[in-house]
């Protein structure tokens, strides 16, 4: 789904994505999701619903978890954005990614980038969430495959790994 773009001509703006400064040309009302995917080739953020319900387009913007399908790119000017590509790589997974792989947190994988970012955001705000806090914290991200149980376990496993890593 695409909103009206006719709120002005394309313009230039810059922001930081995964630690790198990027400059793009975009319509002011273009969705951040489209800019990330189409101009910057960061296709880890997915479009599931286009209306902020499913969370599969989640990214971190200045530390906040946002639905990038609802963010006009204009609002991202000078922001610090983290996408799934900024968390870890295929050969170098971070602890949440390892935990999702081990515990079955990812099935079809389409919600996974958004879900892992939501989990990262949750653990950043609250390093030791209870099961109830995990359920609430991830409730903005829909998964149709898992029934969420193994996603909760993945988050708990990531916490366990963090605990055992810090003496």
């Amino acid at each position: 789904m695409t909103g009206s773009l006719e709120h002005g001509p394309p313009f230039e703006l810059s922001f930081t994505v995964n630690g790198e400064r990027k400059t793009v040309h975009a319509y002011p009302m273009e969705r951040l999701l489209d800019t990330l995917r189409q101009q910057l080739g960061l296709t880890g953020a997915k479009e599931g619903c286009g209306e902020g319900e499913c969370g599969s387009c989640s990214v971190l913007m200045d530390g906040a978890l946002v639905n990038s399908c609802l963010v006009p790119v204009l609002q991202a000017r000078d922001a610090d954005i983290v996408t799934i590509e900024g968390l870890g790589a295929v050969g170098r997974l971070n602890d949440l990614q390892e935990a999702f792989l081990q515990c079955g947190g990812a099935q079809c994988g389409i919600c996974t980038p958004g879900m892992i970012l939501a989990a990262a955001h949750l653990l950043r705000k609250n390093p030791g969430p209870t099961m109830e806090e995990i359920r609430e914290g991830l409730s903005g991200n829909l998964c149709r495959c898992t029934g969420y149980m193994q996603i909760f376990e993945s988050v708990a496993e990531a916490m366990r790994r963090r605990d055992s890593a810090t003496p």
């Binding site: 286009g50 319900e53 999702f100 099935q107 996974t112 609430e136 409730s139 495959c145």
Partner: protein, 756 residues
């Protein structure tokens, strides 16, 4: 319940990492919308806005620069204008008439995807509307014939024993009617497809899909091309659940037509509203039971009428109907039974495959009906089930003898224990006397057949390959697709186990019809059992080649295997071993009478739901869910548990949240904001347990598993709601407004009853 049919294993039974898991957790997995090609156009679809009528006039409104667009109509189709599947009645593009809302009429393509929605809206179509049929009841009244001569796509009649004699012996005759609504699959990745055409090479499509060879068959007919000029490639697929079984053939056809006309690659990606409104959903159903029961609660015989709403075209309805009809008698022994089943036409978009495929509908009815029988006879829901459970040696409703050593009594006992059923039930009985919450416990016992029905696997004649590669590794070649269930992982486990290799030494090819044989569609809980067994055979063939060539001894290390494989490839080139499905000769199935061995194996289950109904909000929620099942050997515990928990979550949605609101055959709530699937905050702990009996028909004793968990939640939950409220509900979904209405009616009845 372990037995000696389960062999010792190293890799099978172990939760190895998902083959494509690293790509998924890092966002590197390539779904169709992540792919692009040079000079790509974007395609859109102009659809019918009415349920039924003749197309009178099409106008292209002048505000659009139509010269920039590629426009395709039915007249541009080089071959047959149909989506070839079972019956070729569904057009790829409507020509003169439309039969359901959202039926595709024209296709548009443009380099700027942002311009498409406006252009689609700027095509005005005038119709001469025709009378419509919107429900099963309207369809069977025949006042308007919208399909064939009697609005009926398919009927089945199964008869076992002398039903008519059962009524005379009966102490009770218990009747009931049960209905279920449509359900949207709601995979989080919308449907999408890319097509490219080259006059020499033919057509290639890349897409989100379950069944590459279904798409292949449809494109051959539509484009009038030979098999070797059609190539179908599955991209990573973001959920499917049956919803990407047949509709991808339609989208592939549309993308292909635009690509052939424009000479450029074309990408079609549905947005959520289009996906929900236009593509298939679970069939709405109506089941009627009339059962002869003895005074001690034994079923003596019964009549079951099962009807499903197929929508406007045949698509998969005959097959959905078949599975629903065969499962209608459930996990019980029926000395006599008559099952009459029909799939009827309505002017809604065709309903299609969704996990369970007819069985969740007919099993909802049966498992509600068992509770009703219990009430009539004066037994507990547990006892009535015990007295009627199928036992080894007895026959099912299709007169298939149960050969598996299943003990449903034991399964039930364990489920009751795991869920603390009795203590909770006693406790709730006291608790429910006061306060604003009512709690209840409900059970469902059921079975699910794995693989295609009856002679189906024989007709499919699936082929699987395993290849020895130049680097000494082996590669599995199947058209069976991964869309979350773990196909790639489990089939590699099976090959690795068979060859005595580490899991890491086995790869699986992308499902690309130029590279892989037709191992059949990825449906019907058949992949691990049927395709897995063929992978095992094909892998043994690779070993035989190396042993026979003297390159390998009877026992070998993985290093020796790799070296032998490399030698073989060096001397003779890449080598492949093929396995073809052959139906066992002792399996009897009568397609006419629908009698015999319906499925090679069944999975068995007992589910227990604990429910709370809030009397101030009228909402029902599930507090605890215990799922115990016998699924043969569990080849990958993490994946298996994920399948069960995920299916139960969908089942909870089916029961309490997900309502498709129809108006004139069109879905009115085609958005995630108003079609509500469960979030992480809505679900109870889903506790999953397995029994493993093994299965001679499946690789390493595996059975099917994917669809089973969809069957049990609805009846278990509604049985629990009845237990909590002492009010009967026979329809799903059950929303707060339904509970409100029923409780208000009950209170009014009590008030007026008291005044008499």
């Amino acid at each position: 319940m372990k037995n000696d049919r389960i062999v010792d294993s190293r890799i099978v039974g172990v939760s190895v990492p998902r083959k494509e898991g690293r790509d998924k957790v890092t966002g590197q997995a390539q779904y169709v919308d992540d792919m692009t090609l040079p000079h790509l156009l974007y395609g859109g679809t102009v659809r019918s806005r009415i349920p039924r009528g003749k197309i009178r006039k099409i106008t292209f409104e002048p505000e659009i620069a139509w010269g920039e667009f590629v426009i395709v109509s039915a007249e541009d189709i080089p071959g047959k204008n149909c989506v070839a599947l079972i019956v070729d009645d569904q057009p790829c593009l409507a020509h003169e008439a439309v039969n359901h809302p959202e039926e595709p009429i024209l296709l548009l393509a443009h380099p700027d995807r942002h311009l498409l929605p406006k252009a689609v809206a700027a095509v005005s179509i005038e119709y001469d509307p025709l009378p419509v049929v919107l429900t099963i009841e309207e369809s069977e009244r025949h006042s308007e014939i919208i399909w064939g001569t009697d609005n009926t796509f398919k009927t089945y009649r199964m008869e076992k024993g002398d039903v008519d004699a059962a009524w005379e012996k009966a102490d009770y005759i218990v009747e009931g009617e049960y209905t279920t609504g449509a359900q949207e699959q709601l995979y989080i990745e919308n449907n999408g497809m890319i097509a490219a055409f080259d006059p020499q090479q033919g057509i290639t499509v890349w897409g989100s899909l379950q069944c590459p060879y279904y798409v292949h068959k449809a494109l051959m007919a539509l484009c009038n091309l030979p098999a070797d000029k059609v190539r179908v490639v599955q991209m990573e697929t973001g959920g499917a659940f049956g919803g990407k079984e047949e509709y991808p053939s339609m989208i592939a056809a549309h993308a292909a037509l635009l690509a052939m006309k424009s000479g450029r690659p074309v990408k079609i990606i549905y947005d959520r509203m289009e996906d929900m409104a236009a593509t298939t959903k679970r069939h709405p159903s109506r089941t009627r039971h009339r059962t002869a029961v003895s005074k001690d609660g034994k079923i003596l015989g019964g009549e079951i009428e099962f009807a499903i709403d197929g929508g406007a075209y045949t698509t998969l309805s005959p097959v959905v109907l078949s599975r629903g009809a065969i499962h209608a008698g459930g996990a019980y022994y029926w000395p006599s039974v008559r099952v009459s089943a029909k799939a009827v036409a309505t002017n809604a978009p065709p309903h299609g495959a969704f996990r369970g495929f007819g069985a969740p509908q007919s099993l909802f009815a049966l498992e509600r009906h068992m509770d009703r029988i219990a009430q009539v006879v004066g037994l507990s829901p547990i006892e009535v089930r015990r007295r009627n459970f199928l036992k080894p040696g007895q026959t099912t409703t299709t007169e298939q003898t149960v050969r598996e050593p299943i003990d449903l009594d034991k399964l039930l006992d364990r489920a009751l224990e795991l869920s603390d059923y009795r203590a909770k039930k006693d406790h709730f009985a006291k608790e429910n006397a006061s306060g604003t919450r009512r709690k209840g416990m409900g059970i469902a016992a059921f079975l699910h057949g794995a693989g295609f029905t009856g002679s189906g696997e024989g007709y499919l004649s699936s082929v699987v390959g395993v290849e020895g590669c130049a680097d000494g590794r082996v590669r599995v070649l199947v058209s069976s697709t991964e869309f979350g269930q773990g196909t790639k992982t489990v089939l590699c486990q099976i090959a690795a186990e068979t060859l005595g290799l580490p899991y890491e030494d086995v790869d699986i090819a992308q499902a690309d019809t130029d590279q892989v044989p037709n191992s059949g569609p990825t449906v019907a809980s058949r992949t691990v059992m049927v395709v897995g067994k063929l992978v095992q055979s094909a892998a043994l063939g690779i070993k035989q080649t190396l042993l026979g060539g003297g390159l390998l001894g009877g026992s070998y290390s993985p290093e020796e295997f790799r070296a032998a494989c490399q030698k073989q490839v060096g001397a003779r080139g890449p080598f492949r071993s093929w396995a073809h499905f052959e139906a066992p000769s002792d399996v009897f199935w009568d397609d006419e009478k629908y009698r015999g061995e319906a499925y090679a194996a069944y999975a068995w289950a007992v589910y227990v739901a604990e429910v709370t109904v809030d009397l101030t909000t009228y909402s029902a929620s599930v507090n605890d869910f215990v799922a115990l099942q016998e699924v043969g050997k569990v080849l990958h515990p993490v994946l298996a548990r994920g399948q069960i928990a995920g299916g139960i979550a969908q089942g909870i949605g089916y029961t309490l949240y997900e309502k498709v609101v129809w108006q004139d055959g069109r879905m009115q709530n085609g958005q995630m904001t108003n079609y509500i699937m469960p979030t992480s905050a809505d679900l109870p702990p889903i506790r999953v347990f397995f029994e493993e009996l093994g299965n001679v028909h499946g690789a390493f004793g595996a059975k099917g598993i994917g669809e089973l968990p969809m069957d049990g939640p609805a009846p278990a939950i509604i049985n629990a709601v009845e237990d909590a409220l002492k009010v009967r509900f026979d329809s799903i979904p059950l929303l707060p407004e339904d509970i409100f209405e029923a409780l208000t009616a009950k209170n009014e009845a009590q008030v007026s009853g008291g005044a008499r």
